[in-house]
């Protein structure tokens, strides 16, 4: 293999990422008759979706018949503090039940109710028990089901075409480093096989980004190594825009001890199933932190909160089940006030509240995880937990119905896309997001392929040469920076200065530090060759993490308010005028991030009409409220 040999692979639809949204998009494209490639940085079936624990939110109404899409929509908008792309939140709430049921037809085995339907559990911010689940390993069930659905389609193709990979093929352990354009339209994707270093060029008019999140820019994170913001960066470099990147979710409950497991997720189901948070004084402190916007929906006493588990119709929810941003900030405040645990967190206690066999049945992986990694028996002792970087609400700016980015032929679904979750995602809304918008992206990408038939964009040699040069650069330098050290420095910087609680001084300092790091990244050199060389792989990923970190820091500096996953200690209030503003990042040249303000599109009248005016007053400006009564009176649009 010569250094610059490139294998060319013609496809209709190329899906980058093989987690829930990528596989769902690929299944849809293949079912639409399109020749589909699935590209995965890991082995097939290992993507980050396997780590989702609690469940998949869908208003099937199996546990409480009062649930429906309108209630789910309201919860999602409240959770996102009304900054959500309301059309996405609407589509998500309406379509999630069908997407879950569809998994059942593909072999998924969710836990059941007594009537034999899919069981649904309580979660933070959801008014009714709504999460379809399998113990605390729901993500594994979903990715395995989608993986097995891909295999079933390949088996059909083996019969029809004599080749299981004729119409849908998985390129495992393969990384894409560049999208290639032709006259502003998607023409292909360039990358390399991790095992051999072989360069690949996928020639295709449609690319679906399904690369997940950005957590590996932070030191304490629940995210795996794959989460280096690849899709975010590929979109930026192709000319697309990122939306509201300042919103990064810290999950309130990550493991904190021993240090080597710091950041590993402890599912929200622990709280949904009766677990409570206590400080070092043994006090259930969350009662002190219910914000005004949620005061009406949450219990004021421990008695009322405890009654809610058995009688949710006549009692209000425990404050431990507030949306994640609220709980994470409250934990941070308790620790800062000196009421933290020995290792700087708080206690999550289910041992004193539920019998051991119940805990083992509902939370088997959590039991296993604490027993094996921390010598803690969660049926006997409380867990020590603290916030961990978990999810990015910001992402590629897309059309809400088609997931199309601004570059023709480019789509984004799942965590890499922005808008759906506003400033804060509710637990359980990620798995359903993957399914709903993965399918929509696959559908729209297929339609795009039909629209360009005959005149497909072509990959030019110059763009290809540049991509090769860029990929080889770290191997050709010597004696430069160690990629692992530069990565560690970036993680420390983002955790210290662009973390849970932010202020102007630190954000400005972070931006100038990022500038210095950029110079170091440009000098990264790696030892060894191209075959399965993690140092070389990390060197490629650093470009993406740098771009994304820059977007997060710049957006965080710009937004002078606190909302959801963005807390400014110098601007602690949530501002109705800032709610009308989306922050949009693009890239000029190779690495100059440009930030712009963009007005939020006002919510459709029939959707606004789903809320009480008193609740809207907490979020909307006077001007917007003046239009509400007129808007609510408008005839409701289709309710499918």
């Amino acid at each position: 293999m010569a250094m610059t040999d490139i294998e060319r692979l013609p496809y209709d639809v190329v899906v980058i990422g093989a987690g829930g949204s990528g596989l769902r998009a690929a299944i849809e494209a293949r079912q639409a008759g399109k020749k589909t490639a699935i590209i995965s940085k890991s082995l097939f079936g290992k993507a980050h979706t396997v780590m989702a624990e609690g469940g998949c939110a869908a208003s099937m109404g199996n546990a409480n018949p009062n649930d429906n899409w309108q209630v789910h929509f309201r919860d999602t908008m409240r959770g996102g503090k009304f900054l959500n792309n309301w059309r996405m939140a609407e589509l998500h709430a309406k379509e999630a039940p069908d997407r879950v049921w569809e998994l059942e037809a593909w072999g998924a085995l969710f836990d059941r109710t007594k009537e034999g339907k899919i069981s649904q559990r309580n979660f933070g911010g959801h008014e009714y028990p709504r999460l379809a689940h399998v113990g605390d390993r729901t993500g594994l069930e979903i990715i395995r089901t989608l993986q097995q659905r891909v295999v079933a389609l390949q088996q059909q193709d083996a019969v029809e075409h004599g080749d299981p990979e004729a119409m849908i093929k998985v390129f495992a352990e393969t990384t894409v480093t560049r999208l290639i354009l032709d006259a502003g339209r998607i023409a292909g994707a360039f990358g390399y096989v991790r095992g051999t270093g072989q360069f690949l060029l996928f020639e295709a008019p449609a690319v679906v980004l399904a690369t997940g999140g950005i957590g590996k820019s932070y030191k304490v994170t629940s995210n795996s190594w794959e989460y280096t913001g690849d899709g975010h960066a590929l979109a930026l470099l192709a000319g697309a825009s990122l939306l509201n990147m300042e919103f990064v979710q810290l999950h309130p409950t990550g493991m904190i001890w021993p240090p080597s497991v710091k950041g590993i997720l402890v599912t929200e189901s622990v709280r949904g199933d009766g677990g409570v948070l206590r400080n070092s004084e043994g006090k259930r402190f969350m009662f002190n932190y219910v914000p005004d916007v949620f005061r009406a929906q949450y219990a004021e006493t421990e008695d009322e909160a405890d009654r809610w588990y058995t009688d949710p119709d006549h009692n209000r929810r425990p404050p431990e089940l507030l949306p994640r941003d609220e709980v994470a900030r409250s934990i941070n405040s308790e620790v800062k006030a000196g009421r933290g645990t020995e290792h700087g967190g708080v206690f999550l206690d289910i041992a004193s509240r539920r019998p051991a066999d119940y805990i083992l049945q509902r939370l088997p992986s959590m039991y296993h995880q604490f027993k094996e990694l921390a010598d803690v028996d969660i049926t006997k002792e409380p867990m020590e937990i603290g916030p961990t970087c978990h999810y990015v609400m910001g992402g590629v700016e897309v059309d809400p119905d088609t997931q199309a980015a601004s570059v023709p032929g480019l789509y984004a679904a799942g965590e890499v896309s922005g808008g759906m979750h506003g400033s804060n995602r509710l637990g359980g809304n990620s798995l359903s997001d993957l399914l709903v918008f993965g399918r929509r992206a696959g559908q729209a990408a297929s339609e795009h392929v039909d629209s360009v038939s005959g005149a497909r964009p072509a990959v030019g040699q110059a763009a290809l040469d540049e991509a090769v040069t860029e990929a080889l650069a770290p191997l050709e330098r010597s004696g430069g920076e160690n990629p692992y050290e530069v990565h560690a420095a970036l993680q420390q910087l983002m955790t210290d200065q662009v973390g849970l609680i932010r202020n102007e001084g630190e954000l400005q300092s972070a931006l100038s530090e990022l500038e210095k790091l950029r110079a170091r990244v440009a000098q990264v050199s790696v030892e060894g060759g191209r075959a399965y060389n993690p140092g070389w792989h990390l060197a490629q990923d650093l470009r993406n993490m740098m771009l994304v970190s820059d977007c997060v820091a710049q957006s965080a500096l710009e937004r002078q308010e606190s909302r959801g996953g963005h807390t400014r200690e110098d601007y602690p209030e949530m501002s109705p005028t800032w709610r009308q503003v989306n922050l949009v990042c693009t890239v000029r040249g190779e690495d100059q991030v440009a930030l712009a303000r963009q007005p939020m599109i006002p919510m459709r009248g029939d959707l606004l009409g789903l809320f009480e005016v008193n609740e809207l007053k907490k979020y909307l400006t006077e001007g917007e409220l003046a239009g509400v009564s007129a808007g609510s009176a408008a005839a409701p649009e289709e309710t499918r």
Partner: protein, 261 residues
């Protein structure tokens, strides 16, 4: 408390390689994967390791630690003496790609030969009704994280690549059991379990169960019941009679061909 551990790590590719000696710092509470990452970041930047979640949920970091197959992310350093030299090698059953990373494509090929979930096509969205007690058996097998430690350990194929064609290994025999016990599945894979996937080669030594990081009772709950079902079908007089008078199909769902010759 921290100390320096002596590590012998396999470096090389499928053709050639050797154990290389390193001394690496170990801190409180760390697992083998932490130590390998430190080695990678400070001394061997190109050391090939496959890993993802570092939480025992994805099954990527399977390797052999002092000859014992396990997940590097779930093997705590405290289970070894500080003075002990740790020998870390790739999975033995699969070809080495580089260093600690092996080519596990055998498993994906086997997965594709097993006839998929086959429900009654007339059941509409949301209409499945299954009881918890009935889904629970297959749910246990769906806990599988596909780490392939059972495949690596099973003596039918460990050091016997000649058996790989006719033996699917514990993970995929368990997948057949999972589908057979799925309350909504209508296909019958009992004959092919024996004839095409080599169930008969399993002599229930339970090595697979022992290495399973998810503690799935592969042998007791999947393989032995599957063997019973196969025997039940082969020697069931009604099935035999049915096949003679053409009331029951003689053969069940065929295995899916890997690729047209």
């Amino acid at each position: 408390m921290s100390y320096k551990a002596a590590l012998r790590v396999w470096r090389g590719d499928d053709g050639q390689g050797e154990l290389a000696d390193y001394t690496v710092e170990v801190n409180d509470g760390e697992v083998v994967l932490d130590v390998l990452h430190r080695l990678q970041a400070t001394q061997a930047g190109d050391l090939a390791i496959r890993w993802n979640c570092k939480a025992g949920k994805c099954g990527s970091c399977s390797m052999e630690i002092n000859g014992r197959p396990g997940l590097a992310c779930m093997t705590r350093m405290s289970t070894f003496e500080p003075a002990e030299t740790l020998t870390i090698t790739p999975l033995r059953t699969f070809p080495v790609i580089r260093d600690l990373v092996t080519d596990v494509s055998f498993n994906y090929a086997k997965a594709r030969e097993i006839p998929s979930f086959t429900p009654d096509p007339s059941i509409g969205l949301g209409e499945f009704r299954m009881q918890q007690v009935d889904v629970q058996r297959s749910q246990e097998f769906r806990k599988c994280i596909e780490c392939y430690l059972c495949q690596n350990t099973c003596h039918v194929i460990r050091d016997h690549p000649e058996n790989e064609r006719e033996f699917a290994g514990p993970r995929f025999l368990m997948r057949i059991a999972e589908l057979e016990m799925h309350p909504a599945d209508e296909a019958d894979r009992r004959e092919i379990a024996q004839d095409d996937f080599g169930l008969g080669l399993c002599n229930i030594t339970k090595c697979c169960t022992e290495v399973c990081p998810e503690n799935i009772k592969i042998t007791d709950n999947a393989l032995i019941p599957l063997k019973e079902r196969v025997v039940g079908r082969k020697y069931d007089p009604l099935t035999w009679l049915g096949s003679k008078i053409g009331r029951r199909p003689q053969h069940d769902t065929p295995a899916v061909p890997a690729r047209k010759a």
